[in-house]
Amino acid sequence: MSWQYKFLLPALLVLLSIVAFPTFFLFYVSFHEWVLFKRGMPFIGFENFSRVLTSPEFLQSLKVSVMYTFSTTTLTFILGLGLALILNEQLKGRGIMRTLIALPLVIPPVVAGFAWKFALNREVGVIGAFILPAMGFMKSLLADPSLALGSIILADIWSKTSLMFLILLAGLQAVSPDLYEAARIDGASSWQLFSHITFPLIKPAIIIALIIRFIDAFNVFDAIFVMTSGGPGTATQTFPLLGWKIGFLYFHLGQAATLAIIMLIMTIGVSIFLIRRIT
C-alpha cells in the first residue's frame, strides 16, 4: 500500500502548501467585518453570510451565473465532443483542422473579449454594425438586456471549445480500435459502438472536461468585464464580477471573502453531483 502514497506525496505537498493559507484566510476573513477604509476587523459571526445571501445583487448574479455557466458548459461540451469524435477519424487533413481548432486557446481571454466587443458593437463593429444590419437585424447585441447574455456566451464558446475538444480528444486516444473492430464484426451499429464502447471508456475524460469547464465558466471575469462591464445594468453581472466589485471597488473584503466561500461550496456541490451522475 505504501508505495502509492510515496508517489502521491510530492504532488500533494506542493498543492497543499500553496492552497492552505489562502483557504484559511478566506474562512477567517468571512467571519469578520473588514472594510479597507475603516479601522478594525471585528468578529461578526455569520452576519456577512446573511447580508450577502439576502442582497438583491446576489440573487440577480445567481440567476445570471447559473444561466451563463450552464449554457456555455453544455454547449462547449456538445460542440467539443462532436468535433473530437469527428476528428478522431481517419479524415484527410485532420491534422490541420485539429491545429486550427486549438488556436483560440492561445488568445488571452481579455483579447478575445475585446475582439468580440468590437466585432459586435452596434455602431462600429464588423458584425454588429455591418453584417447584421445588412440582414435586417437592428438590435444592439451588447446593450440589449435580452441579447447581452447570449453575446457573452458566444464569446466564451469561441474561446473555450478548444479546451474541451483537446481534453476529449485525448480521452478518445485511450480507446483501442481493436475493440471497435471486434464489435463491428459482431454487427454493432454506430450508435451502439458509441454508447457501449466509446462513452463508458471516455467517462473519466468527460468528467474532468465538464468539471474543469464548469469551474472556468463559473469563474469567468476578464472577457465579460471587457465586453459589457456586467451590463446593461446587471444583466450580465456574474458572481466573479460581483465579487470583484465588492472586494476591489467597495473594499468590503469581508463580504468578498464570504461570496468566495459561497461560490466554492456551490462548485464543490456541482462537481460531486457530476461525478456521481456520470460514473
Binding site: 477604509f37 444592439s140 446593450a143 462591464s229 446593461p232 446587471t234 476591489f248
Partner: protein
C-alpha cells in the same frame, strides 16, 4: 531515462531560480521608487518612451541628479485596482506612488489613511519641479479631502460640449447655452438626420456602461438640474456634514430630475448600444464621424481627434462650454489623473521628488505635445504654442473659462464614494436599457443608500 529526467528537472528549476534571482535589483546605490499607474506609452512618454519601458536620457538625468531609481509598473484600470488594494490590505508599502482618481480613489484612500498628506511637502520643499501657482486651483482642490491635499494631478478634464460645426451649420444650429436649448438642438438634429435617411449618425454620444463609468457625467447632470450636489439632504458633502445634519440620501428627491434627463437624452438621442458604452466607445463613435455632439466629458472628443482620419471630423470639431441647467448651474464633468504617496512608503522624501518631477511643468508640456489635448493642469501649458496653433486662441480661451467656472465638488466627498459611484452608474445603465423604469431604479438606489448609511452609523444619536 530517469537520470536524464531528473537532470532536466533540476536544470529547469535552477534556471528559473537563477533568472528570477537575477531580476532582483542589484544592491541599489539609488533609492528605488515604485510607481503603479496606467496609460502606458501615453503618460510620461518623454520619460518612458512610447512603449513605456524605455530608459530615456531625460529619465536617467533625473535619476542621477536625485539619486533615485524610478521603477514604473503599468497595467489597465481593473488590474491596477487589484494590485493597489492588495498592497494596501497587506500594508506592505510596495508601491511608493499610486494612481488615484478624483472619482473615488482620492476620497476612499484618503479617508482610509492610505495616502500621505502632501501640504507639508509643498511647504518644506518649495520651488523645484512643481509650481502649485501655475496649476489651476480647481485641479488641485479636487484632490483635497476636507482641505487636506492627498495627490497631485497629471492630466485633467472639465466639462464641455464638443460638436460638429458642419452638421450644426447644415441644420442652422448654434451651440446650446442652456439645457432647454440643448433639447431643442438634439431634437433638430434627430429630425434633420432622419429626414435625410441617415441612420448611422446620432445626435449625441454619451456613456452609459454599468459601474462607475458614467457617474461623473450623470452627477454633472444632477448638479445642473438641482443647482447643488443633490445626493444628501441640503447638499451635505462630507461625513461630518452628513452626521451633523442627519442628512438622508435624496435619490428619489432632487437627484431625480438630472438623472432622468441624462437617461432620457441617452435613450432618445444616443446610439442604440449606449447602455454598455464606455469612454472608449464614445471616442470611437465620434472618431468614426457617427455623432454630432459628444458631451459632457469633452476630453474624449479631443482623444477622438487624435485617432480619426475623417477629414470632416478633423476640420469641423469645435468646443463649447457646458450648458446651464434649470438649477442655474452648468453640467459638470470633472476628473484628474493623480498620483499620491503611499502612507506605508519607506522613502517618502524621494517619492515626493519623483512625484513633483512627474507632475511638473516639463511633464505637462511633454504631455500636451504628445497628445495635443488641451486637458492640462497648468495655465502656462494650456497657452503654449503647440496647443494654440492647433486649436486657435479662441478655443483655448473657452477651455480656460470652462475650467475656471468648473465646480470640482459637485458630488459628495465621502469614504464610501467608490461604492456610490459604481451603484449610481449601474442604475444609470439599467434605466437606459429600460430593464426597469427610472422611478424603480431610483427607489432601489435610495433603499440601498439609506440602509448603507444607517449601518455605517451616520445617523446615530
Amino acid at each position: 531515462m530517469s537520470k536524464n529526467f531528473l537532470k532536466a528537472v533540476g536544470l529547469t528549476v535552477s534556471l528559473a531560480l537563477v533568472i528570477s534571482l537575477m531580476s532582483l535589483p542589484a544592491g541599489a546605490a539609488k533609492t528605488g521608487i515604485r510607481v503603479l499607474v496606467f496609460a502606458q506609452g501615453f503618460a510620461w512618454p518623454e520619460l518612458f518612451g512610447s512603449t513605456g519601458v524605455d530608459e530615456t536620457e531625460r529619465l536617467k538625468q533625473f535619476e542621477e541628479k536625485e539619486g533615485v531609481d524610478v521603477r514604473i509598473e503599468w497595467g489597465d484600470e481593473t488590474a491596477i485596482r487589484q494590485k493597489v488594494a492588495a498592497d494596501f490590505a497587506a500594508r506592505t508599502g510596495r508601491y511608493d506612488l499610486v494612481l488615484v482618481g478624483t472619482d473615488g480613489g482620492v476620497q476612499t484612500y484618503g479617508y482610509g489613511g492610505f495616502l500621505e498628506p502632501l501640504d507639508k511637502y509643498l511647504e518644506l520643499y518649495p520651488g523645484g519641479y512643481f509650481d502649485p501657482q501655475d496649476v489651476y486651483p480647481q485641479f488641485l482642490d479636487a484632490n483635497r479631502v476636507e482641505g487636506v491635499l492627498y495627490a497631485l494631478p497629471y492630466y485633467s478634464f472639465g466639462a464641455g460640449i464638443m460638436y460638429r460645426k458642419d452638421i450644426f451649420d447644415k441644420y442652422g444650429l448654434t451651440s446650446p447655452k442652456t439645457t432647454d436649448e440643448l433639447y431643442q438642438v438634439l431634437e433638430a438634429l434627430k429630425s434633420g438626420l432622419r429626414g435625410e435617411g441617415i441612420t448611422d449618425v446620432y445626435p449625441v454620444t454619451m456613456r452609459g456602461a454599468p459601474g462607475e463609468e458614467p457617474t461623473l457625467d450623470v452627477a454633472g447632470f444632477v448638479y445642473a438640474w438641482a443647482g447643488y450636489p443633490a445626493w444628501f439632504e441640503g447638499g451635505a458633502m462630507t461625513p461630518d456634514q452628513i452626521k451633523e445634519k442627519k442628512a438622508m440620501p435624496i435619490f428619489t428627491g432632487d437627484f431625480a430630475p438630472g438623472f432622468g434627463a441624462f437617461v432620457e437624452i441617452c435613450q432618445k438621442y444616443g446610439p442604440p448600444g449606449i447602455a454598455t458604452h464606455t469612454w472608449v466607445d464614445m471616442m470611437n463613435i465620434y472618431a468614426m464621424g457617427k455623432a454630432a455632439i459628444l458631451m459632457p466629458s469633452a476630453i474624449n472628443a479631443y482623444a477622438a481627434l487624435g485617432v480619426t482620419e475623417d477629414e470632416q471630423v478633423k476640420k469641423y470639431t469645435r468646443f463649447a462650454k457646458s450648458p446651464t441647467g434649470s438649477g442655474g448651474k452648468q453640467i459638470q464633468s470633472f476628473w484628474t489623473f493623480s498620483l499620491g504617496i503611499n502612507k506605508d512608503s519607506r522613502h517618502k522624501k524621494e517619492a515626493w521628488k519623483v512625484l513633483t518631477f512627474l507632475m511638473g511643468k516639463e511633464s505637462m508640456q511633454a504631455f500636451a505635445e504628445r497628445t495635443q489635448w488641451p486637458n492640462v493642469t497648468m495655465k502656462s501649458v494650456l497657452y503654449s504654442d503647440v496647443l494654440i496653433k492647433k486649436y486657435g486662441m479662441e478655443e483655448i480661451k473657452l477651455n480656460e473659462e470652462s475650467i475656471l467656472e468648473a465646480e470640482p465638488f459637485y458630488f459628495p466627498y465621502i469614504p464610501e464614494l467608490n461604492e456610490y459611484m459604481d451603484r449610481v452608474g449601474t442604475a444609470t445603465s439599467e434605466a437606459i436599457a429600460k430593464t426597469k423604469p427610472v422611478e424603480a431604479v431610483l427607489s432601489g438606489l435610495q433603499t440601498w443608500a439609506l440602509e448603507a448609511m444607517l449601518r455605517a452609523g451616520y445617523y446615530k444619536k
